[in-house]
Each structure stands twice: as C-alpha cells, then as structure tokens.
C-alpha cells in the first residue's frame, strides 16, 4: 500500500458551495493499473480502516493504466511536437486529470475549520506499491 497525505487545503464555509471536487492533476498511467481510496482528515488511515463516513471516507478512483512498455527503447517517452505543424494525436501516456466528487464527505466535516487534508491509499497488483500513485498536484474545487 502507498499512503500519500496532502498539505492542508483551504475549505470555504459550507454555506458558500453546493458541490466539491478533488482534482488529481497530471496523473501518470504508464505502469500497472491501480486503485486509490481517499479519506479526509484521516492521515492515519490504512488498509484496515473501514471505508465509512465515520472514518471520513471520500470515495475511490481506479486508474486503468498501460502496463509495462512493450516497445523498443524510447517507445514510451512522451515526445515534444517536432514543429508547429505537428498534428499527430497526443501521445497515449500524457498524464490526465482525475476528478473525485466529495460533496457529501466534505460537507459532513465540521463547518468552520477552514481546511482539510486528503489521504490517498493506493494499491496495485504487483506489490511495488511505493510508486503507484504519481501525479503533479491536487486541487480542491468548490462550486456555488
């Protein structure tokens, strides 16, 4: 299991938003497929932690990934466009953004604390679980 916990994210007052999303930006998907289970304000969550509202469980995201590189050397390196006229489709391994709606679990937190931490527990089949979840940054978005 890989555990990743965020720095505190700012949360506006509950009365100011109707929906909340966590956006994992720049998720890499060039290795083994994996699942991550997400908890709010529960940095000690582990595999045995019940995925319940009481534990501030926020949901899960599964990433269907490409697996090991099967091509020749350099096949899975993401190239830069060779010119302004390069209209080839994007490389399939370009990182993507994964969104988890957390309206209910975020709304269930005590109002007025002003911040929240996010803990993601990531699992794959290989056991090489120190490097399962790789992404650029996490954003909490709320919508009025």
């Amino acid at each position: 299991m890989q555990r990743w916990t965020s720095h505190a994210l700012a949360v506006p007052p509950r009365s100011s938003w109707q929906r909340a999303d966590l956006e994992f930006e720049g998720v890499e998907h060039d290795g083994a497929s994996f699942v991550m289970h997400v908890f709010l304000n529960n940095p000690d969550a582990d595999e045995a932690t019940p995925r319940t509202p009481e534990q501030r469980y926020a949901g899960y995201l599964t990433v269907f990934a490409h697996g090991d590189c099967w091509g020749d050397v350099g096949h899975c390196d993401i190239p830069e466009p060779v010119s302004a006229f390069d209209r080839r489709p994007p490389h399939p391994l370009i990182p993507f953004n994964a969104t988890l709606e957390i309206t209910e679990p975020l709304g269930d937190l005590p109002d007025g604390t002003g911040e929240v931490t996010v803990t993601a527990l990531a699992f794959n089949k290989n056991g090489d679980e120190a490097d399962v979840l790789r992404f650029k940054q996490l954003t909490l978005l709320t919508y009025a």
Partner: protein, 267 residues
C-alpha cells in the same frame, strides 16, 4: 427507441441491428457470435480479430482514454469491429455485459467449453498483427478477477446511477470512464492493461455496455454533445471517422434492446 433509420436523407428506411444483453441471447445467437469471433481469430489480415485488438494497444495504440474522445473513439471501434464480424456471420451483433447489475463474469465468457469446443470467448490466443513476438509478451489472454483486492467488484449500480445523474457530457464521460476503469482492473489479467486488454473478447462486451450507457444517457439528454471543438475531429480508426458521426447510433445502424421478438407479417 426505433428499429429502423434512414442512413441518408430520402433513403428507404433500413432495419437496425439490435445489440442484446449477453444473458438474453438465444443458443443460436450465441453460437453465431462465437462462430464470428472464431473465424475472425483465424485471419492474419485486416479482417482479423487480432488486427482490431491491435488498434487499442499493441501494436497501434490508437485508443483514447481519460479525455473527451473516450466515448466517441470506443463507439467507432465497436462499430468497425461489428461490421467485420457481420462479414463473417451476417446479422451478428456485439452483446453487452451489464455490470451495473451482474456480479460476475457472464457464463458465456467464462465457460471453458462451448459448442463442443474450447470457448473462444473465455480465452483467446494473442497474435500481434504483422509484428514479431517479443520476449515477455503474452501469447494468450488471461483473467484474474479481484487480483487487486482493494478494487471494488461489480455490480456497479451506484456508479452507473452516479454517471446517469450527470447533466453534461464532460461529467458523464468522466464518470463513465471511472467505472469503466474499475471494471477493467477488477477483471484483471489481460483486461487490466490498456495495451493488451482488447485481445480478450470480453473487452467488447464491457465496452458495448459502456456504449449502451452513453446511448441511454443521450436519450435522456438530447443535444448534450461532446465539446464543440472536437466534433469535427477525426478519430484514429481504420478508416477514420469523425466524432460527429458517432453521436447517433441509429446512423451507425444499431440500437440496444433488452428483448426482441419478431413474427411474420401478412404479406
């Protein structure tokens, strides 16, 4: 829903093919579908199953995931494969696996034997199109349901309902790709890796259900199309097809139905 459509303006109505739940196929329909897959597996040219499987990953890598093209690309993919199968056995259609209600892999895809032979829907050889086998490449498909125990298994009723609640294409596409990803990784084995997954025939039953979900959502949200800036985009298939051409399944000649019953008329 309708069972006919006009392929072009002023053309005579043409009968649509009906894609059905795998569990509702008659013995003859299932046998015909297996026969089409079996014949396609026998070709090492552009009629072959391995050619189409190769579009998704090894060796072509044309598939689209985790972006707005996810649904249109896979709709086009199934459309072209279904035509190829119909060239082998006229009238066959791709069945769907309703993992929003079913808790396990359908019997039609898991039974080791069928029609007195190995069940081609349960396990298939992997022969990469026009490419020499490399060390480490799989030579046949495999499955390992639950190989990552922390991945929730079907039925995905809640996830399906959540996707259906989306009120715009972007949200729907993303919610559906999430549950789609989960099913792939739950099945595991060949299906758990993007680049090999389409070599397993169950891939297409899974994606027929994804496509069916889109069709159902489209019916409930007329005009809720993908973003305007991708409608003219060509999808990388053989031949290419534009996103806008994938929006109406009736114009692609098929429909989804839970049941179908036809009797002769009076003429």
């Amino acid at each position: 829903m309708t069972i006919t459509a006009r392929p072009t303006a002023n053309a005579a109505p043409a009968r649509l093919n009906v894609r059905k739940n795998i569990d509702s196929l008659s013995a003859q329909e299932l046998s015909d579908f297996r026969q089409a897959i079996k014949q396609a597996l026998g070709f090492n040219d552009k009629r072959g199953f391995d050619y189409f499987a190769g579009w998704h990953g090894v060796p072509f890598g044309w598939c689209q995931h985790h972006d707005p093209l996810f649904l249109p690309w896979h709709r086009a993919y199934l459309y072209w494969l279904e035509l190829a199968l119909q060239s082998e056995v006229p009238g066959v259609t791709l069945p769907w696996w309703d993992w929003s209600t079913a808790a396990s892999i359908p019997d039609a895809y898991s039974a080791a034997q069928a029609d007195g032979a190995e069940n081609v829907l349960a396990k298939a050889p992997i022969k990469v199109f026009n490419t020499a086998q490399k060390p480490g490449w799989p030579t046949e498909t495999s499955r390992a349901p639950g190989e990552v125990p922390q991945v929730p298994g079907p039925p995905y009723q809640k996830e399906w309902a959540y996707a259906m609640q989306a009120d715009n294409y972007t949200d729907f596409n993303q919610r559906l790709w999430n549950v789609h990803d989960t099913l792939h990784v739950w099945v595991g084995g060949t299906m758990g890796q993007v680049d090999w997954s389409a070599y397993d025939p169950i891939f297409f039953a899974h994606h027929a259900n994804v496509d069916r979900a889109w069709r159902i959502w489209q019916t409930a949200h007329p005009g809720a199309n993908p973003p305007a800036d991708i409608l003219d985009q060509s999808l990388q298939t053989d031949p290419a097809i534009k996103v806008s051409q994938t929006l109406d399944v009736n114009q692609l000649g098929y429909e989804y139905a839970g049941t179908q019953s036809t009797v002769p008329g009076s003429a």
